[in-house]
Subunit: 318 residues, 2 copies
């Protein structure tokens, strides 16, 4: 098991320079007043392809050997990783096949195809997407680009905190959603290198608490596919690498309810005028829930993405 280092994250940042957007950090006097803290929203919903996933995908694809690039890549994803890999592949001139669930948001399916990738559909509750991807990998000799449990993916995601700290300085607390753990792992390494005192919390939906249970037990725990509105969290267990990093760096995992997630989407839309997807609203919900010890704190929130079907948004707002 190779763990990514801070140098890997800096190298990723150099690769992403001029390719990924340096996303803005937004603040809201209203939400600061509501919580009594200083909240800094790092807006990866404005990232290319609408989510942070592009960073890790591009960092991984850019490091493929010429022979691998020629044979192409294959990936599986509940949504944003698919678009990230598809766009990165397009920019680098690499063929991409993406295994996606039949119930993935229509906009994500369309966007993935729009970037020129071939989409292979599977049934989320019946088939094993990893097995399907492995079959394509072996048959066509394509490089498998995993959604989170790879040092290159993790290092790419970690570039978010490099930017965030440059933009606003160091933070007391950093909140990020935990799906497979790639996002929080990379950013935990970056944050603790730059500011060892920063407390880093992963946030999960209550029904998608695989990282919470795993950290509690001290080993990786598997849960059934969680029925959460936060579709980026429909992951059954943390990765091997991401679990090791989370154990080392996390102050804890916070849990929020489905209702709290929906309220956060609504409030951020109404007051901050930005669209965030349910998975991105998970750490926002934790900030609104507001731990008793948090007063006057500088809290960074990684807003992971903004890809949400309008039909789903309507059900949240109505």
């Amino acid at each position: 098991m190779t763990l990514p280092t801070f140098d890997d994250i800096k190298a990723a940042a150099a690769r992403l320079q001029g390719v990924a957007h340096r996303t803005p950090v937004l603040t809201s006097s209203f939400l600061n007043g509501l919580t009594g803290n200083h909240l800094f929203f790092k807006c990866e919903n404005f990232q290319r392809a609408g989510a942070f996933k592009f960073r890790g995908a591009y960092n991984a694809l850019a490091q493929l050997l010429p022979e691998q690039r020629r044979r192409g890549v294959v990936a599986y994803s509940s949504g944003n990783h698919a678009q990230g890999v598809a766009l990165a592949a397009k920019l680098l001139g690499i063929s991409a096949k993406i295994v996606m669930p039949t119930d993935a948001p229509a906009a994500k399916l369309a966007a993935t195809r729009g970037y020129g990738a071939e989409v292979i559909l599977y049934h989320r509750y019946e088939e094993d997407r990893a097995a399907i991807a492995r079959e394509i990998q072996q048959k066509e000799q394509r490089a498998l680009i995993p959604p989170f449990d790879h040092p290159h993916i993790i290092a790419g995601q970690g570039t978010i905190t490099l930017e965030l700290f440059e933009q606003v300085g160091t933070l007391d607390i950093l909140l990020a959603p935990v799906g497979g753990g790639g996002l929080i792992s990379g950013n935990a390494i970056a944050a603790h290198q730059l500011s060892p005192a920063t407390q880093i919390y992963g946030v999960e939906a209550e029904v998608a608490n695989d990282a919470y249970l795993s950290l509690q037990k001290g080993e990786r725990v598997s849960i059934p596919v969680p029925p959460t509105i936060a579709d980026g969290m429909q992951v059954t267990s943390p990765g091997e690498i991401t679990f090791a990093i989370m154990r080392e760096h996390l102050a804890g995992v916070l849990l929020v309810s489905e209702e709290e997630i929906k309220n956060a989407v609504r409030l951020v839309l109404e007051r901050m005028k930005i669209l965030i997807e349910p998975t991105a609203a998970v750490p926002v919900a934790a900030a609104l829930k507001n731990e008793p010890a948090w007063r006057g704190k500088r809290i960074g929130i990684i807003v992971s993405g903004g890809n949400i079907d309008m039909a789903k948004l309507v059900t949240i707002l109505a």
Copy 2:
């Protein structure tokens, strides 16, 4: 009739320094690809109180004499001017009464009261808000802060283009919504001082075409209160000052349908991840409609605000 000058706009910018937000300019590769132009969205939906109106209101209130400040202000508004005046009054320690229609978006009523202003309700289709405001003005000796037809208001709004040109350079075309004309007037003066070749178009809803008709006829035309979803355009005629400025500076007024306005709100939300109100979507709709002569143009769009009831948004998205 005193027309505001470019120097008035520069003086307004100095007053607003550190008080109003310097709003970001966003771009979208998707919308650029769709139109074949380079679109620059000047995002006043991120302005304080959620709309450009704060600029003009603060610029006007900051110039009141000490005696006037003591007696307070009164204003009438279909929404955003109310919040702008209320917030400016709060920041300057001035008492404010705001005459608002009973059917104003609930969020706008709540926000206006939230800034500490007293709201006086009237029936939009039965009562004359100007008369009600004048009565309060005379009885309580309050300064009347008109929504658009005043040099201080117009100069405040013009600071948007000062920033926009600093942020992205000069433009071939500038698009802005026209309600009473305060926004476009101030920005037309600023744009033509900095770049005489820039073509400036006002954009109206088809059913709210009072400026269009007025410019066609060469005199101010009144229409019935227009039943448009763009509530910032429920104005029956251009102002005296704003009409004079529009006559001098506008290349024309473009018209868009209610359906085109709704589509623009939806598309900007889905692709750009930002919430804009229907009035702000009016010039976006014109950019999407795309005049045949516009190809490869640098087009600035003043996104006037982001205040929209979630219930209304749902009807647009559903």
